[in-house]
């Protein structure tokens, strides 16, 4: 199978590659969002802990 044939997908390139593309985006987003959320959350908790200590 040539590379051209591979990307052509027997004429169904649009349907096949759009499916795989959307799947990739959705699966990646589900990894990146919680990773970012955890970093933000930890920074936020550390900030409020420092503030609480200053005020006492």
């Amino acid at each position: 199978m040539s590379l051209n044939e591979f990307f052509h997908m027997g004429g169904y390139a649009f349907y096949v590659w759009t499916s795989y593309g959307i799947a990739l985006i959705v699966l990646l987003a589900n990894i990146l969002l919680p990773a970012r959320q955890r970093r933000k959350l930890l920074a936020d908790i550390a900030r409020s802990a420092r503030r609480a200590r200053r005020n006492t």
């Binding site: 004429g11 096949v16 959307i22 908790i45």
Partner: protein, 245 residues
């Protein structure tokens, strides 16, 4: 024995252990996805009727299986949370909702992209498609309800009830292709007897199914860790953890 379960279900212990599992799950998941893509997109021959369009199946079918599996896990964790008030079960239930909604969305959108060239339409109001759409709304309902209630523990009880009631939709989805005349084809793998699918197409399908299961476990742990931090943010151990970082 009970002590072991109590320790396992303690949020702090869970947070640490989950953190250790995450890289291994990520590696295993990636391995299965790459193998599945290789066998699915390169090794498997075109279908004699559908040409190359059937390759959408390797995303569509595992996503559809997972959309139902995750729902059952979510409802099951909901029951455990309701009956035994285990915090970790509540965390697992709500952390599953977003992933389940993602799988359902993928099943619907790839189904649509497969339906257009094969059936000549993006969408029909057929029993299988409609019940899967209702599943998406159930997930979205669970997420919306959870976010609408301020207290997380009350929110978990409310969403658990919604999730449990919605379980009735799962057998409807599965048997819809038998109970009604649908455009959607019947089961070829999850039925009694030998699967009516060629081995060259079954292998990538199963590889992708395992990959999606691992992916679910991975994202579930990642989301559950966030949820634990959020819920325990006023405890000593979370503050210390946050300040070391």
């Amino acid at each position: 024995m009970m002590q072991f379960f109590h320790k396992m279900a303690s949020p702090r212990y869970f947070y640490t252990i989950a953190g250790r599992f995450i890289p291994w799950l990520a590696a295993a998941c990636l391995l299965f996805i790459l193998a599945g893509l290789y066998y699915g997109l390169i090794k498997a021959p075109p279908d004699y009727q559908q040409g190359d369009s059937y390759r959408i199946m390797f995303i569509h079918v595992p996503a559809a299986w997972m959309s139902m599996f995750v729902y059952v896990v979510m409802a099951g964790a909901g029951i455990i949370g309701l009956v035994w008030r285990i915090k970790l079960a509540e965390v697992v239930a709500i952390s599953s909702a977003t992933i389940g909604a993602s799988f359902t969305f993928l099943a619907l959108i790839t189904g649509s992209l497969w339906g257009k060239p094969m059936w000549g339409t993006w969408w029909v109001w057929d029993a299988r498609l409609t019940s899967e759409l209702i599943l998406l709304f159930l997930y979205l309902g669970v997420i919306a309800l959870y976010n609408a209630v301020e207290d997380k523990r009350t929110a978990s009880r409310a969403t658990a009830i919604l999730a449990i009631v919605g379980v009735v939709n799962i057998p409807i989805i599965h048997f819809s292709v038998e109970w009604w005349n649908t455009l959607h084809q019947g089961a070829t793998v999850t039925k009694l007897g030998a699967p009516s699918i060629d081995i060259s197409m079954l292998i990538p399908l199963l590889l992708m199914a395992v990959a999606f299961k691992l992916y679910y476990a991975l994202v579930l742990l990642m989301r559950a860790r966030c949820e634990v931090l959020e819920r325990e943010r006023n405890t000593q151990w979370v503050r210390e953890l946050a300040e070391i970082k």
